[in-house]
């Protein structure tokens, strides 16, 4: 047996942290987005996901195409009244913990669509954590939004942590 394994470096023998911070740190770097992509913002979503801007750096890399396997709902584009029940169902199928990003001004507030067809902001139907306005938002704005969501996750309570852990 190697001698250096029997005597590990004293600096890494233990680590002090708060349980909430530990879970938050783990969760904020493993976001599994579900892309609910309905409109032209999809182009910007592809741009921000791919090499040049690369959301992989924030742990939000792999889109899951089942809401049951994802914890971040990204609503990208206009949602109509006809689609609102679908969006609600997708959100309800996601397991806790879950977060929602409204990507683009249409998902945020309806944008310039104020008529019989468009839903004026997805927060009328589901709760939203981060709003990223813009038509479409710049990739930098999206990255800023993801980082704000990460800060929110890192700073919040995680009820998984109880007296048994």
């Amino acid at each position: 047996m190697n001698a250096h394994l029997q005597r590990p470096s004293p600096a890494l023998e233990y680590l002090t942290t708060k349980k909430d911070e530990l879970i938050g740190w783990a969760r904020k770097f493993s976001l599994f987005p579900y892309p609910f992509v309905t409109a032209c913002c999809a182009m910007e979503f592809m741009s921000v996901s791919s090499t040049l801007y690369d959301t992989d750096r924030f742990g939000a890399a792999l889109p899951r195409f089942s809401p049951r396997q994802s914890d971040l709902l990204m609503v990208v584009g206009t949602v109509t009244h006809k689609q609102a029940p679908v969006l609600q169902k997708v959100y309800e199928q996601m397991c806790e913990p879950k977060w929602v990003i409204a990507f683009g001004v249409c998902a945020t507030s309806g944008g310039f669509y104020q008529n019989y067809a468009a839903l004026a902001g997805i927060d009328k139907v589901i709760p939203v954590d981060v709003y990223i306005p813009g038509c479409p938002p710049r990739p930098e704005m999206v990255i800023d939004g993801i980082m704000q969501l990460q800060d929110k996750i890192a700073g919040s309570r995680h009820p998984i942590v109880n007296e048994k852990f």
């Binding site: 009244h81 006809k82 609102a84 029940p85 008529n115 019989y116 009328k124 139907v125 709760p127």
Partner: protein, 157 residues
Amino acid sequence: MTTGILATLQGTLAGPGQEATVSHGVVVVELAPEALLATVKRLKSELGFDLFLDVTAVDWPDREPRFDVVYHFYSTQHHFRVRLKTRVPESEPIVDSLIGLYGSARYMERECHDMYGIVFRGNADLRPILLYEGFDGHPLRKDYPKRREQPLVRFRK
């Protein structure tokens, strides 16, 4: 070639109560609703207009009769378009369906029924296609309130 078909169309389609004019290279025929089906039959079988492009309507809220129903046809043989316009009143917005001649009319007539409330006699399936069941009114009519929304789910808060 193009001028040939144009002259033929103007000669053939103009008749009592209907005239054929040319607008931006498209032959425009205004005709009575009763003459629609016969005219479209001739367009398809005699004049080679094999492609039904669209049916839509125009709302003139202060005019009587209130609606224009507008049809576009294209001939893949002559590379030429023709437009048919007919007027129907608000009290009886009924025209004959074209599904016996063009299968694609089934869906375009449903959309026109959604948006303007035009009834196509002979189209048995006028369920909403772009709108949803329970939608009240016809949103592209000028008297539909601009901000009126009909949500399907209950809003939060």
